[in-house]
Subunit: 136 residues, 2 copies
DNA sequence: AGGCAATTGTGTAATCCTTACAATTTTTAT
DNA sequence: ATAAAAATTGTAAGGATTACACAATTGCCT
């Protein structure tokens, strides 16, 4: 918890109790949660927690760059505390989103885009069946 | 217009006037429009048009597979009548979404995914500045 | 420690987008 | 032409997000 406090301070975010708990949840669960997933889990331990605080806090984290929004489905926003570019896989059956590590490196796209474009971000995600759901 | 009518019929969609005009818009403009963009444009020529019809029609097109939803930003859904997989570029300044054709082929991702996953769809999009906005 | 100002959290209300539904219009078949 | 089916429309309902005012907490100064 001390490390989370320091981490937030390093990004000019005051480490309130709620902020620390919310960040800890997103970072440790690694489940790319929605706002509701965070709320449902933390409300059990922090009965006073307001959903507005989750919204505010995530917006703060995103603008500070310590959490990235993951947009795969149109109707739900998910959040990821892993800010280095990586690939996501969404299972169409159980709905979970996990990180995927490819066996080989993937092309350097920046060198393949037509002249004139400035690329700031690359986003890649796959959809299909996860190993658990494939076997079931 | 005759070809659009036949195209819809081939996908078991009755070619009503509204449906033909909506499909024509998405296919010809190639601008990956939102529901509102379609509505704002067509309402000028079809004064009776209801936004509900746009929602219903796009949902029908998507379930028939003749239009694909494009989800890049969390707060807006866009639609694309080009159903073959391709790459999108969203300009963070002017907001437009365009198709990108890479100079080389891009890796065959399916072969690079860890064992056990079944990949149905691959989605790649880039964010940055389009040539127009870069120069401005 | 006590007091004060600034920041953060909370609960409710407002807003915006999407969907549900019933009524009307249009199309299709007989 | 008539009736049945399907599509469109307008309004109401729903759900998610944001705005806002007030309460609680924090941090700083004495
Ligand atoms: Mn991730
Ligand atoms: Mn496209
Ligand atoms: Zn699964
Ligand atoms: Zn641009």
């Amino acid at each position: 918890m001390k490390s989370i406090s320091d981490f937030l301070k390093n990004h000019d975010i005051r480490p309130s109790y709620q902020r620390m708990r919310i960040f800890e949840y997103v970072q440790s669960k690694r489940n790319h949660p929605t706002i509701d997933m965070i709320y449902s889990s933390l409300i059990q331990e922090i009965p006073s927690l307001s959903k507005t605080t989750i919204y505010n806090t995530l917006r703060l984290f995103v603008s500070a760059g310590i959490v990235k929004p993951v947009t795969i489905e149109d109707h739900e926003i998910r959040y990821d505390a892993d800010t280095v570019p990586h690939i996501h896989f969404k299972c169409i059956k159980c709905g979970k989103i996990e990180d995927i590590y490819l066996k080989n490196d993937w092309n350097d796209l920046a060198s393949m885009v037509p002249e004139g474009y400035v690329v700031n971000e690359e986003h890649l995600y796959l959809r299909g069946l996860c190993p658990d759901c494939r076997d079931a």
